[in-house]
């Protein structure tokens, strides 16, 4: 294996991890399904590159600002749709994602459907790793606070959450906002890594893939999401030489996982230092994994 190729795959995995972390907060911890996350990613990507290349902001600033723009849009969309239930919310986000793509297809300032080439390459493995560490820590700290617990309560039993005083609507909005920011940041990084943007990159398929990653990793597990994003980015690469059979296998694998291990890789648990120590036989509290909330 050659490092140049591996590095490319790792960077892409890192970018996917950020997007999946965001979606994990929304789907895994708050229990809301979104098929419009590629839309937030697109908004983040285009605004980040706009800030960076047209307005001359520094790279990191423009990527984060791109994320925030995605977040702001999510507040607007969230206000309209977060009161909807289950599939209705799902389809509304699907419509949103497709609508964003259509707008970008039409807007010629950003290149329209033909895309925006010639973006300078500003993302390397180090940048992505830093974004990942910050992203994971933020999410971990958030989840292990009263805010994170309130979001989990929304997922577990919305009515009960309400009567113990949790403003479920507000927490849904916050959750959507943060996950849109993550998606936006991932989008910005993708733009600066690919050096090219095109609305087609952010299709429904991308939203679906991220959702699959979250479920694959296990609902309500940060480490699971990270692991799943990594595995499911690498898997199609490993299957690359299978050509047309690649996504047949991928599809079958998804069904297989749902049937054989529906709790996902981590099943709502987290990999912790304690857990690793336990596996290695280092004395201490000998627990392999700990539930979120106890880190």
């Amino acid at each position: 294996m050659n490092w140049f190729y591996i590095e490319g795959v790792l960077i892409l995995a890192g970018i996917n991890i950020i997007a999946v972390l965001g979606l994990s907060l929304l789907t895994g911890f708050t229990g809301l399904f979104s098929f419009g996350h590629a839309g937030f990613m697109a908004i983040g990507a285009y605004s980040a590159v706009y800030f960076g290349e047209r307005m001359g902001l520094p790279f990191a600033v423009s990527v984060v600002a791109g994320g925030l723009v995605a977040g702001l849009v999510s507040l607007f969309i969230g206000r309209l749709t977060l009161k909807l239930k289950g599939d209705y919310f799902c389809i509304a986000t699907l419509g949103f994602g497709e609508a964003i793509r259509l707008v970008l297809d039409n807007v010629q300032v950003f290149g329209g459907a033909r895309g925006w080439p010639g973006i300078p390459l500003k993302v390397d493995l180090v940048t992505v790793t830093i974004f990942n560490i910050v992203g994971i820590l933020f999410l971990m700290f958030l989840i292990n606070s009263r805010h994170g617990r309130s979001m989990i309560a929304v997922r577990e039993e919305e009515l009960a959450a309400k009567v113990i005083g949790i403003d479920t609507y507000r927490y849904k909005v916050i959750s959507l906002f943060i996950s849109a920011v993550y998606a936006g940041i991932a989008g910005g990084l993708l733009g600066y890594y690919l050096t090219f943007l095109q609305p087609k990159l952010f299709g429904l398929q991308k939203s679906t893939e991220y959702t699959i990653m979250v479920i694959f990793g296990g609902i309500g597990s940060i480490s699971g999401s990270v692991l799943a994003a990594f595995i499911l980015t690498v898997l199609p690469e490993m299957l690359r030489s299978f050509a047309v059979w690649r996504f047949v296998i991928y599809g079958a694998a998804v069904i297989f996982i749902m049937i054989a291990r529906p709790q996902g890789l981590m099943g709502g648990k987290e990999i912790t230092l304690k857990g690793i120590a336990g596996i290695l036989g280092i004395p201490g509290r000998n627990r392999k994994t700990a539930r979120s909330g106890e880190v």
């Binding site: 209705y88 389809i91 509304a92 609508a99 009515l159 599809g251 749902m258």
Partner: protein, 292 residues
């Protein structure tokens, strides 16, 4: 004036395509309470079944038509057994069903690409192609045919659900699965029936779709529109699915024809969200307060 009439007819014709797909989808939703994303894949297979029955096995159209329906029925049942039943047995939350459905849809589409190939295939001409012309307004024969077949199958479906014992069992299960299981209804066979019916509808929808628009592995993509139509109408409601489909078809046509075709989906999706803001359960969906 002519143009408005023509556009209305166009809208109805597009709507009837959506309706045929949306009904099967909504039927499954009414029982299982999840979006069966594999429905598009079954429709696509239906189109291929019909195509091969007619071209390879030289079957007469109606035999191929019914045959494609039956084969798709088997596929839908198989998908249910493989991808959903194990989840059902475990009482898994609806999101697992949805992911499993996505996996199935991905599997079916790419399996067809890998085995049959990505080429577009054209049905031989079965019905005369030239449209009726009524004072400058054109109505396609195939459209009329599709409209008729959709109507007949929908009426048959409604008859089946309203007037047969099995249909009543389906209704009961949709209303309250646990209670109906306690009343001696075999939930499993109800679910199989529903998937079978949904599959049959998907199959004939596929054949009609293929005749009208050719056959290729990504046909299933169009079912997104029928999902949206079903949401418009209220998920799980069959009349809702039909009405939603026609509304979507006409709205799309009017937006393309009179506003801006470049932004068609933006406008129709915004309308969808707007409707949901005021009617959170769609047009025909029942609005219920949370039971504590």
């Amino acid at each position: 004036m002519n143009q408005i009439l023509q556009q209305l007819i166009n809208g109805f014709s597009i709507g009837s395509v959506y309706a045929l797909m949306a009904v099967g989808y909504s039927l499954v939703y009414s029982i299982m309470n999840f979006s069966n994303f594999a429905h598009g894949g079954v429709i696509m297979l239906g189109a291929y079944f019909g195509f091969f029955f007619i071209t390879l096995f030289k079957m007469p159209f109606w035999v191929a038509f019914i045959g494609a329906g039956i084969c798709s029925m088997l596929v839908a049942v198989l998908v249910e057994r493989m991808a959903y039943k194990p989840l059902r047995a475990r009482n898994a939350p609806f999101l697992y069903f949805m992911i499993s459905a996505m996996g199935a849809s991905m599997f079916i589409e790419n399996f067809v690409i890998a085995t049959i190939g990505p080429t577009f295939r054209t049905y031989p001409q079965i019905f005369p192609a030239e449209p009726f012309s009524l004072g400058g307004i054109y109505v396609g024969r195939l459209d009329m045919m599709m409209f008729l077949i959709s109507a007949v199958s929908l009426i048959a479906l409604v008859y089946f659900i309203e007037c047969t014992k099995l249909g009543k069992a389906i209704q009961a299960t949709a209303f309250n699965p646990r209670a109906s299981a306690l009343m001696g209804i075999n939930t499993d066979s109800v679910i199989l029936t529903v998937f079978g019916l949904g599959g049959f509808l998907a199959g004939i929808a596929g054949v009609l779709f293929g005749m009208k628009y050719t056959v290729y592995p990504q046909i299933g993509f169009i079912t997104i529109k029928s999902f949206i139509a079903a949401v418009f109408g209220g998920l799980g409601s069959l009349p809702g699915a039909v009405i939603g489909s026609f509304i979507l078809g006409i709205v799309e046509t009017m937006v393309s024809g009179y506003i801006m075709s470049q932004y068609r989906d933006l406008i129709s999706f915004s309308l969808l969200i707007l409707i949901l803001v005021f009617k959170p359960m769609g047009l025909m969906g029942k609005s219920v307060e949370d039971k504590a």
